[in-house]
Symmetry: C2
Subunit: 360 residues, 2 copies
């Protein structure tokens, strides 16, 4: 293996190489303290400074103010948020609206039903989630509306979010977080597992509107209560220090790129190259998502046969293009091209796809 391959895994996923190299230094000696970021107390001044800077940078990138929003760095992954959101906000006698655009959204619904009534405001399950619904059957006075910004398994992305008026909107942004410009102020709570676009596994970023957090249920176990973490600026207990540190490095990297506008431009260019080639391949590479619902992050496609798909994935790996297998629940192929995937990586993939098509 070369020192560095092109990594198309869906998550954990590729990170900016400069971030990887910098993290490796902090793993030995953080902030010139003579100890690793893994060894430093989360109550030390140096850790606190890094932690708060990371929170500030994330809000800056999103165009949100610290007065209005807080950033929490929690453990347990986005899957734990599936349960924390209704535990805190699905109050007795109320209904929560869920827009079901993929397998992860379905899991979120399952947890919400544990706590109260759920209305499926829209679903594309009838077509294997290959499109994003455009009409939403919203409940007046719902506790909240839950959405998913990008669907990793099926390669779709929500372009137009529901207009929820006074009803708070929640969004699972795990696989598309900070990949494009959005009006983030539309959301009252955003959560994102870090391991797609903003860092390593082991931390989930929760961006929460302070005024909504104040209205949460009081009878919630301590660690699942957003109020607990808000009250201690996300340092109620020991945070996942090293994952947060790497998220901090990624936030700096995004700012260095020129923020979300620049990041989105690069992502549009990368996805454009790949989708255009697929569309011009005379059906050899068939995208599985409806064109107007295509994801900038996860490009899902099929080949003429499952045998060819297997061969494609294996030969890709031999050419240092790793992780092209689709999710086991849907099969096929998938190239995840998150923020950190360089344009050259997509070029190399398209070159390989051309050769593979010619040879098969």
């Amino acid at each position: 293996m070369p020192e560095r391959v092109y990594n198309f895994f869906a998550g954990p996923a590729t990170l900016p190489y400069d971030v990887v190299k910098e993290a490796s230094k902090g793993v030995v000696n953080f902030s010139n303290m003579g100890m690793s970021i893994m060894e430093v107390s989360h109550r030390s001044a140096q850790f606190d400074s890094m932690f708060c800077e990371t929170q500030k940078n994330m809000l800056n990138i999103m165009g949100l103010s610290e007065d209005e929003y807080a950033v929490l760095f929690l453990g347990g992954g986005a899957s734990t948020q599936f349960c924390a959101v209704p535990f805190n906000f699905l109050k007795n006698g109320m209904t929560a609206d869920y827009v079901v655009t993929g397998g992860w959204a379905k899991k979120a619904v399952k947890e919400a039903k544990f706590f109260g009534d759920v209305n499926i405001a829209a679903s594309s399950e009838d077509a294997n989630f290959s499109y994003i619904p455009k009409k939403f059957n919203l409940t007046p006075g719902a506790a909240y509306v839950h959405t998913t910004s990008n669907n990793t398994l099926v390669g779709t992305q929500m372009k137009n979010f529901p207009e929820t008026g006074d009803v708070p909107m929640v969004c699972d942004m795990s696989s598309g977080f900070l990949s494009r410009k959005l009006d983030f102020s539309k959301f009252s709570l955003i959560y994102a597992g870090a391991q797609k676009n903003i860092g390593p596994a082991g931390v989930v970023a929760v961006i929460i509107r302070r005024s909504w957090a104040d209205q949460a249920n009081k009878e919630v176990p301590t660690m699942l209560s957003y109020a607990t973490h808000l009250g201690k600026n996300s340092l109620f207990n020991t945070p996942p220090a090293l994952p947060v540190y790497v998220v901090g490095l990624v936030m700096k990297w995004i700012l260095e790129q020129g923020g979300l506008e620049a990041v989105e431009t690069a992502n549009v260019k990368k996805a454009g190259l790949l989708y255009s080639y697929m569309d011009d391949s005379n059906g050899f590479y068939r995208g599985t998502a409806e064109k107007d619902s295509r994801s900038l992050m996860n490009v899902t496609f099929r080949l003429p046969s499952e045998e060819l798909e297997k061969k494609f994935i294996a030969e890709g790996a031999e050419n240092d293009l790793i992780g092209l297998k689709g999710h086991r629940s849907v099969g096929g192929c998938r190239a995840s091209i998150y923020n950190a995937m360089p344009y050259e990586g997509v070029e190399a993939l398209v070159e390989f796809m051309k050769k593979f098509k010619a040879a098969n």
Copy 2:
């Protein structure tokens, strides 16, 4: 600052330097895959191999069999286990016994009360938790008995656990995990935040008796249910990959030391050096824990005045002895001398203590 200091932080805490250096390599290129351990899919063969080996090594070190016990690597810290244990095992109409030996045990009680009846089987709060109770008022047929093996804040350690007969025993071993030989088969569930003795923050190890897990409540949110994680060998969702990887390196390090017997011998020697000197200091350094309850991990002590304590902590730091401040809730001084603290570190501390005493 030198490249490496002696780090007496209570957690996150010092790790073996060889582990730190090895981790730094894996952060750039894991298992010769051409990508970081932060970037590799948790569904890849290489990750799976590391993950399972870590589980096996941990059980080996504890002398437990894979048939009887499972190892889970979860997020959310030990604090989340305070709630998960009663959620799963404090059934309707039953009582859970809690032995309250410190601030963390109190927090565990608070969560359990959310789910059912709690009996305080013993408490040393009357004496600021400076000793470990020897008598336990156990409830016949209790759901479980909850204990804490080591109390980080007050520097005590449980030597003799209650005899619970048929009642399952649960233990929060966060701050003393794998620091000494124990009959681990006495416990039905052990949990330990990694950031004291076995790795970085961001992962909690849960060692659970399979037959007890089978008896858990069914109505538990997915991510808080032990059955969920057992059913997928702790890979139901993306695990905190990097923290687990470092835990794996620490397990190898413990085996290289000669296992728990060798680790305990080293810890007894280190703690002996420090406590002996304190006891011979004519009351200048006064240990706060009763002698028969003293911790091998966290050595807590006071100086003649708070002014001297402040000076001691500051001058210690100037001498590259970092993190000697006691927990903010109890004050005073504390030297955490976990497995990874070399004997030379304790020697350096004692030398400094001698000089400081002579000068003040």
